[in-house]
């Protein structure tokens, strides 16, 4: 995949998005079906169709608002928008792109910290054991967010039902998984998307 740096003239935002993700935002003609079907649109600061319009304007202020928005973190990747889009615009891929751009630019919305912490705790678990260790994830998440009391009521029942394991499953190739994480980290340092 090529990046905008390879070109001599600066790309528009829509050009950059197309280069990096293959998504053509200019296809959107604001029918609003994505926002109508989106399960979390009512909680978003900018619903999906407005995100599309703001990106189309190529206005840096609009991009800044989106990178700082809750919308990009509230998106649950349910794929309803792209399913109903008459132009089949891959909005979920665009949302992934915006999230990663927001983290790189250090512009993440403070209210999204719990969601981001959960994702980071999740990836840490994979990095250390090769698999998701649910107990470890919850403890790590609580340490990150300070939400110590959350869901303490449900844990004993889950234990009794055999749904929570006190011991993580550690795979033999866990060092190979850690190596995958390291290679990706190093690749990104060199500026490869």
């Amino acid at each position: 995949m090529s990046t905008s740096q390879e070109h001599n003239h600066p790309l528009s935002l829509s050009g950059e998005i197309r280069m990096d993700t293959g998504v053509i935002i200019n296809k959107c003609y604001q029918c609003g079906k994505c926002s109508a079907g989106c399960p979390v649109a009512t909680e978003m600061d900018y619903p999906p169709s407005l995100v599309m319009r703001m990106l189309q304007t190529d206005n840096p202020d609009h991009l800044d608002k989106l990178l700082k928005s809750m919308s990009i973190w509230l998106c649950v990747s349910c794929e309803m928008c792209v399913t109903r889009c008459p132009m089949e615009i891959d909005i979920p891929t665009l949302m992934d792109y915006m999230r990663q751009k927001s983290i790189k630019a250090k512009k993440t919305n403070p209210q999204a910290s719990k969601i981001i912490s959960f994702h980071k705790s999740f990836l840490d678990s994979i990095n250390y054991t090769g698999r998701l260790y649910e107990m470890g994830l919850i403890v790590d998440y609580k340490m990150r967010t300070g939400a110590m009391m959350q869901d303490v009521g449900v844990a004993p029942k889950m234990f009794a039902k055999g749904k929570l394991s006190p011991i993580p499953e550690i795979i033999r190739g866990r060092k190979k998984i850690a190596a995958i994480f390291n290679r990706i980290k190093n690749n990104n340092k060199e500026g490869i998307q």
Binding site: V76, E79, M80, D96, H119, G162, I171, I177
Partner: protein, 305 residues
């Protein structure tokens, strides 16, 4: 018959009963599920939200390990894992240079020769033909089949079932002797991975799903995804609080429904592990839907009475 098996992390923890019921069902039909050795997590939502490379590399390693074992069909009962593996398979098939790059990241050659099956595709390929003759205890309940998001979307890649009104699970429930009800929330999102970080959102979305199922007199909701299950089942107290009413409809995996129909007992299928208690009422079997094998049992019971 041997089929590759990728359980995924939740089936080793919070969704143990899903693995238990899939394994028990496979056994009934003489299918040997071969777990991919040393498999890792698919990365789920966290990986594709935070890193595109990671979201492709983790599933690619799983499939590459299966290739080394000579496995072709991999059954992936978790809809979320199925989705990530299928998308990775698709993206790497479309872009050879990306595929080579991912091979170097995971340090195993990825060929792309595996075939990813969700739980329903697996059942349809290996079980459905023989299902009806094995049904001894028809699952005679009004059943709301809930497909959720990741089993059917994005259609352009998964190409599985109808995208707005899927039918594959309904057909299985009918073959098991049940009634698949018509309802509106088959493919609405349950709130997915927000269960911990945005519990209120999950209570609202899953609440709307359970409310519609209850309004249409469903006696049971059937799912094919551990994440959907945990939101509809484990989050029931939050759902009931959101709805301000008490809904006690149990949520079963499709493998548990078919398992019950072919005569497996509740404990083998892990029904006792659900957070919302499973108390299905005993019902007289409708004559017109009873397969031959079950008729004999019913008739002998009638004679005794």
């Amino acid at each position: 018959m041997k089929v590759g098996f990728y359980p995924g992390c939740s089936m080793k923890g919070g969704a143990r009963e899903y693995q238990e019921s899939v394994s028990a069902l496979a056994k009934v039909f003489d299918i040997e599920l071969v777990e991919i050795p040393d498999w890792n997590c698919c990365g789920a939502t966290a990986a594709h939200n935070l890193s595109k490379e990671l979201s492709l590399s983790l599933p690619a390693r799983i499939m590459a390990l299966a290739e080394k074992e000579g496995i072709v069909d991999i059954v992936v009962p978790c809809a979320a894992c199925y989705n990530r593996l299928s998308i990775t398979r698709h993206e790497l098939a479309e872009d050879k240079s990306l595929s080579a790059k991912v091979s170097s990241i995971i340090d195993i050659k990825y060929e792309g020769s595996t075939n990813i099956l969700n739980i329903i595709q697996f059942i349809d390929k290996y079980i459905t033909d023989k299902l009806e003759e094995k049904v001894v205890k028809p699952f005679n309940y009004n059943t709301a089949c809930y497909y959720g998001c990741l089993l059917v979307r994005p259609h352009s890649i998964l190409k599985f079932d109808r995208v707005e009104d899927p039918q594959s699970m309904d057909v299985l429930v009918k073959k098991a002797g049940g009634t698949a009800i018509d309802w509106a929330f088959k493919t609405e999102c349950c709130g997915a991975g927000m269960s911990v970080s945005r519990t209120d959102t999950v209570a609202r979305l899953s609440g709307n799903i359970m409310k519609d199922a209850a309004d249409r007199a469903a006696e049971v909701v059937v799912v094919a995804c551990p994440m959907c299950h945990s939101n509809l089942d484990m989050r029931r107290p939050e759902i009931n609080k959101f709805l301000n009413e008490k809904i006690d409809i149990p949520v079963l995996y499709i493998s548990q429904v078919l398992g019950l129909a072919v005569g497996l007992d509740a404990k083998t299928l892990g029904l006792n592990r659900h957070m919302t208690e499973v108390n299905l009422p005993q019902k007289p079997v409708k004559e017109d839907v009873v397969p031959e094998a079950a008729k004999k049992i019913v008739n002998s019971q009638k004679l005794e009475a």
